[in-house]
Structure formats: structure tokens, C-alpha cells
């Protein structure tokens, strides 16, 4: 993992109008960077804005405010067709529901090759077929599958097709929006292992959105925790799990049941009460430990630093 930034998200806002006077602030001022070759995990409960964040980054929504800088270029800036096409090749998405995200009336071959057709990546039919067969093998399916329709596949196999489709245009950045939530445990492991293998082979960068915290911890290098459209804590995966600082993160971690009966018998759950925060000023994102950021006010910052910070030598 390098320290070179691939994606910079600056003060990203995504507000939805729900009525004449009401606005839902799904994403409200997000700031974070994703480094080249890393997996950035985004966690939070349903409705916290994590999926909206992913969709706004890839320009499925037009951002209300803020910037997404991909490889030095603003994603939401004005672009003509060819620029947009070039950008679309770089960034791909894997969706949550493998049953809804594949067109049931298209053959697997055409689903996977659709991106290649749009970008003109295959000069003739033979090359197109060969690429599709290659991709199918990469994701652990075989080439006989190319002529079938999505309904002939199980959930795990469909998710593999979704991954093959994302890989077809040789992207450098993949947004995976809950790619394993709809799958069985044993199949989840297959897909996660596949994503890890592909990352090593192709040097991919992932934004991994999920609510299953143990899987996120396993796959991610760094993790951001979202709560009501804001990021409340950001740290490396290990640091976040070993030293959760924000009370919301603590409550979230304390709520996960682990497959260990002894641990379960002693686990204590904390409840998060947003009213316990210091309200004397607007909270800001501050670095409490090296590389470990928490949304807090000055007072809380001092307190967190005393409790969790690394002592200066």
C-alpha cells in the first residue's frame, strides 16, 4: 500500500429534497482520502449514508456540494462524453443484490462484455469471446457459463458475474456496495477471498461498503465509521477495533455478536446516546492518535487524547 492518494473526498455533501421545505442530508460534509492499492472500509447502520457516499463518488448522483478528486481530477467537474467515458473505465461498481443487478434477459457473455463494447476494447467477436472467457476463469467460473442466463446461477455465482463485469474494463478503483450481504456465510468467504486475490494480482483499490463489521475488519486496511451522514471516526482497521474512541463506534463494536460462546457470555453492550456530546461548539475531525481521526469538539479532543492518545516521548 502506497501513500499516494487515488481518491480525495473533500467536504462531500449529498442532500435530497423530499418536499418543498424538507431536505434529507444523506451525506453531510465528508472528508477522506483513499490511497492507491488499499481497501477502505465504510461502515455504519442502514440510513447512515454509506451507500449514498459510494454512489456519489462514482457520479451516479450529482453531488450537492464538495469535490471528489480521482487521480488529480474532479469527478463532478464538467466533462464531455469522451472524458466521461475515460473516467468511467477507471471506476467500477459491484452491487449488493446479485439478483437485481444483472439483466435477466441478457446472456452472461453480453452482461460482462457490455462495458467492453461501449469502450471499444475488443476489436472483433473472437477477441471479445476470449476476453469474456478469461474473465470468467479469473472469477472462478468456466467458459461454458458464458452462454447462460443469470437465473441459472446461484447467488454466489451471480456475484462473481458482477465482479467479472466490473473487471471487464480494467478499472483501477472498485466500489463494492455490500457485495456479500446477500450471500451465505460459506459463499461470503469465497467472494471475499476472490476480491483479495484480484486486488493482489491487479493492484486494485477498493471502497468496501458494508454493515458486517467482522468482514470489514478482515478485508480493510483502513475503516471509516459513518453516523447520520457524517464520518465520526477513521483509523486503520486494527486501531479502530483495538482502540475505538468515538462512543458511537464503541457502541457499534459492542453490539456485534462473535462466533465464540465464552466471549458472548461476557460481552457487554454499550448504548450510544448522541445527547451526551459536548455541544459548546461544532465538532471537527481531529487526529487523536497517529492516523486515527475522531469527530469531536476541542473539549472532547483533550479528553480523548488523555484517555486514548499515544504519550509523546
Amino acid at each position: 500500500m502506497s501513500q499516494e492518494k487515488l481518491v480525495e473526498i473533500k467536504n462531500l455533501k449529498q442532500h435530497f429534497k423530499t418536499g418543498r421545505h424538507s431536505v434529507v442530508k444523506a451525506v453531510d460534509g465528508l472528508n477522506f482520502d483513499i490511497y492507491k492499492g488499499e481497501t477502505f472500509g465504510l461502515v455504519g447502520e442502514s440510513g447512515c449514508g454509506k451507500s449514498t457516499t459510494g454512489r456519489t463518488i462514482i457520479r451516479l448522483y450529482d453531488a450537492t456540494d464538495g469535490e471528489v478528486i480521482f487521480d488529480g481530477e474532479d469527478v463532478h467537474g464538467k466533462k464531455d462524453r469522451s472524458e466521461l467515458k475515460r473516467f468511467n473505465r477507471e471506476m467500477q461498481m459491484i452491487f449488493q443484490d446479485p439478483y437485481a443487478s444483472l439483466n435477466p434477459r441478457m446472456k452472461v457473455e453480453d452482461i460482462i462484455a457490455e462495458g467492453m463494447d461501449i469502450h471499444g476494447l475488443a476489436s472483433n467477436d473472437k477477441e471479445r469471446k476470449a476476453r469474456v472467457h478469461d474473465l470468467l476463469e479469473t472469477v472462478g467460473l468456466n467458459k461454458e457459463h458464458a452462454n447462460r442466463y443469470p437465473h441459472e446461477f446461484s447467488g454466489g455465482q451471480r456475484q462473481r458475474i458482477g465482479i467479472a463485469r466490473a473487471l471487464a474494463v480494467d478499472p483501477s478503483f472498485i466500489i463494492a456496495d455490500e457485495p456479500i450481504s446477500a450471500l451465505d456465510v460459506s459463499i461470503q468467504a469465497q467472494v471475499v477471498n476472490l476480491l483479495k486475490k484480484l486486488q493482489e494480482e491487479k493492484g486494485l483499490t477498493y471502497l468496501f461498503i458494508a454493515h458486517d463489521l467482522s468482514m470489514v475488519k478482515y478485508i480493510s486496511d483502513r475503516i471509516g465509521v459513518m453516523y447520520f451522514g457524517k464520518m465520526v471516526e477513521l483509523a486503520t482497521a486494527d486501531d479502530l477495533y483495538n482502540h475505538p474512541i468515538h462512543p458511537y463506534t464503541q457502541s457499534l463494536l459492542s453490539a456485534i455478536p462473535l462466533p465464540d460462546p465464552d466471549y458472548e457470555r461476557s460481552r457487554e453492550r454499550f448504548t450510544y446516546d448522541p445527547n451526551n456530546h459536548d455541544t459548546s461548539e461544532e465538532p471537527e475531525f481531529r487526529e487523536v492518535r497517529p492516523g486515527h481521526f475522531v469527530l469531536c469538539t476541542t473539549k472532547e479532543f483533550e479528553h480523548y487524547k488523555k484517555e486514548h492518545g499515544v504519550v509523546n516521548q
Partner: protein, 353 residues
């Protein structure tokens, strides 16, 4: 403790155009009062079908209970007719469904939905029932129940709706509660609340619970005993400690190994290769053999019987036969077995039962 439920050699099949799908192929287990049994397994392993059969909720046709008996307090449910079943359903056993968004009637006020069972089974009049509903909603932790009973399901959040579903299931103080993935659709913090609620109520009412889930974390949290199902059969059953700290069946190893623990580092997850068999034409021998890294020749020929590991712990795998070679479970699983020193060697051979 007294046995509340005994299921013996239960077979459930579905007749389809393609042939007979043998969804449940000989399931045997029992349940004591106040006990929680978790049934785990992949989708299609027959766990939902088994529990639906317990309440005779299998649509007939195409489904049918082919063989076996379901003894609930000594009465055989498999032989009851619909009229007899209606007296039991909702009263002596009730079910919590997976999806709180679809298991409530959107056109009925929440209070009326809970009252239905009370009026039918407990012969209460409306005002008595309403009183009890308010009590129930308080019990499941819904604030301001007096006003909430006049609202419709869409005015409740997912977690609150699931509480309503729990309240409906508990309305008549059932002796047996079947929870089919009750928290899968919920967020972790809400899941934790519902699980705590269910455990709390179980303690108060001493009801037995069958808990279906594929989340092993939830299993470790709620279960007294665990049954692992694969391809329509129970392949391993034991206390929660037996299953998590001393698993014997390779399929259980696979399930445990495919979940990362929070301290697992970069090692690869142990993924069970392939996908479950087609129950239209179940394979000969051990149904898991094709996906089993530890499969032996006999697995392809003959089905393993249940071997006894201890008084509480049984597993159906030839690895427990006295002539089987010693096999080491995958690394991920071994790490879980910490603290169980007598694991690897002699104890792995069980007696045939």
C-alpha cells in the same frame, strides 16, 4: 428437564415438475422446556422447511410430510388435520418471521393484529384484549403503547416492527417459539436489542425456542444447543460449546472457518468450495463429500451414521469411525479450539450409535 418436542426421522418432500425434491431427509432432534436450540446451515439446507413442518405451514401440495413423527407434548403433529392445527398454531407454538417489513398486514392497525390471536385463542373480549396488547407492547419495549396500537405498520421502523412481530408471537404465551432468522434484516445495534429482548422474555416465560440463523455470532449468543444442517440432514448436534470449541464434522469446520474472527490477520478465509447439492437427486453416500477436503473413499459410497462424541454431542462423519485416519481441522478452526487441550488426539474417535 422434560422433553417438549421430539422430532423423529422427519422427511419432507416437494413434488415438482422436475421430480421429487427431498428438502428434509430424516431429521431427528428433541427440545426441552426453556431450552434454545439453534439450527444453522446454508440456504437450501432444509432448516426453514423443518421448522415450517413443525407448524404444518408447508403448502400441500406441492409439499408433504413423507415420513416421521413430530411429537409435541406427546401428540403427533404430523398426523393432525388443519382444524386441530389451528388450535395449536399461535397458541402453543408460534413463529417469528425473518422480514418484519412483509410479515405484518399493512392495512391493519398494529393493535388489531396483535389482538387477533388473543380473541381467537384466549376467548378474550375486545377491551380485555386491548389491555393485554398494551402490556405486551410494553414488554417488548415499545414506548407509548396506548397510542402506538392505533398506528399502522408503516409508521414503525424496522426494529420496532420486529418488536411487534415478537409481541404477536408471544401474545398467547406459547410453549414453543420458532424464530426464523428474526434479526437478519436488522442493523447490529437493533439486532442486539431484539436478541436481548427474546432472551429476557424466554427467562420470564420459560418457553422453548428454536432459532434459525446462519449468523454464527448470533448462535453463540443465544443458543444452548446447536444443530448443523446440510442437504436436508442434521450432520452435527451438540451444546454450543461442543460445536464451537470441539467441532467434529468437516462441514462445521467449514462454517466456522469461513467467518473471520476479529483477531484474525491476513490468512485466507477457509471457504467451502462449490455449492450445496441438488436435492432433486441427492448424491450417493455423504452429501457433503463433493465439497469436503477431508472426504475419504467411503464417503462416496455409504452415508455415515451419527457417531457419538459425548452424551450431548453427535456428528455424522466417517472421520469419527475407529478406522479413520486422524485429521487436523483447518488452521482457522484450530485457533478457535483454544483451551481445549484434549482435542487433537484420542478423543476424536467416537462410539458408533
Amino acid at each position: 428437564m422434560e422433553k417438549l418436542l421430539e422430532v423423529n426421522n422427519l422427511h419432507v418432500s416437494f413434488d415438482t415438475y422436475g421430480g421429487e425434491v427431498q428438502a428434509v431427509r430424516g431429521v431427528t432432534f428433541d427440545l426441552k422446556r426453556g431450552e434454545t436450540l439453534a439450527i444453522v446451515g446454508e440456504s437450501g439446507s432444509g432448516k426453514s422447511v423443518t421448522t415450517k413442518a413443525l407448524m404444518q405451514l408447508i403448502p400441500k401440495p406441492p409439499g408433504r410430510i413423507k415420513e416421521g413423527e413430530i411429537l409435541f407434548e406427546g401428540r403427533d403433529i404430523a398426523k393432525m388435520n388443519e382444524k386441530q392445527m389451528q388450535k395449536i398454531r399461535g397458541k402453543e407454538m408460534s413463529m417469528i418471521f425473518q422480514d418484519p417489513m412483509t410479515s405484518l398486514n399493512p392495512t391493519m392497525k398494529v393493535g388489531n393484529q396483535i389482538m387477533e390471536g388473543l380473541i381467537k385463542h384466549q376467548k378474550m373480549n375486545k377491551s380485555q384484549a386491548r389491555k393485554r396488547v398494551v402490556e405486551l407492547l410494553e414488554l417488548v419495549g415499545i414506548p407509548d403503547p396506548e397510542n402506538r396500537i392505533k398506528q399502522y405498520p408503516h409508521q414503525f421502523s424496522g426494529g420496532m416492527r420486529q418488536r411487534v412481530v415478537v409481541a404477536i408471537a408471544l401474545a398467547c404465551n406459547p410453549k414453543l417459539l420458532i424464530a426464523d432468522e428474526p434479526t437478519t434484516a436488522l442493523d447490529v445495534t437493533i439486532q442486539a436489542q431484539i436478541l436481548e429482548l427474546m432472551k429476557d422474555i424466554q427467562k420470564k416465560t420459560d418457553s422453548a425456542t428454536i432459532f434459525i440463523t446462519h449468523d454464527l455470532g448470533v448462535v453463540a449468543n443465544v443458543a444452548d444447543r446447536v444443530a448443523v444442517m446440510y442437504a436436508g440432514k442434521i450432520v452435527e448436534v451438540g451444546t454450543v460449546d461442543d460445536i464451537f470449541y470441539n467441532p467434529k464434522h468437516p462441514y462445521t469446520w467449514g462454517l466456522l472457518g469461513s467467518m473471520p474472527s476479529l483477531d484474525s490477520e491476513d490468512e485466507e478465509l477457509y471457504a467451502i468450495p462449490g455449492s450445496p447439492p441438488d436435492l432433486l437427486d441427492p448424491p450417493k453416500g455423504d452429501a457433503f463429500a463433493a465439497r469436503n477436503d477431508y472426504a475419504m473413499k467411503i464417503d462416496l459410497e455409504e452415508e455415515p451414521p451419527m457417531f457419538k462424541v459425548s452424551d450431548t454431542h453427535y456428528a455424522a462423519t466417517w472421520l469419527l469411525h475407529e478406522n479413520a485416519p486422524d485429521m487436523d481441522p483447518p488452521e482457522m478452526v484450530k485457533k478457535r479450539m483454544k483451551g481445549m487441550a484434549n482435542m487433537s488426539s484420542s478423543s476424536s474417535e467416537g462410539d458408533r450409535v
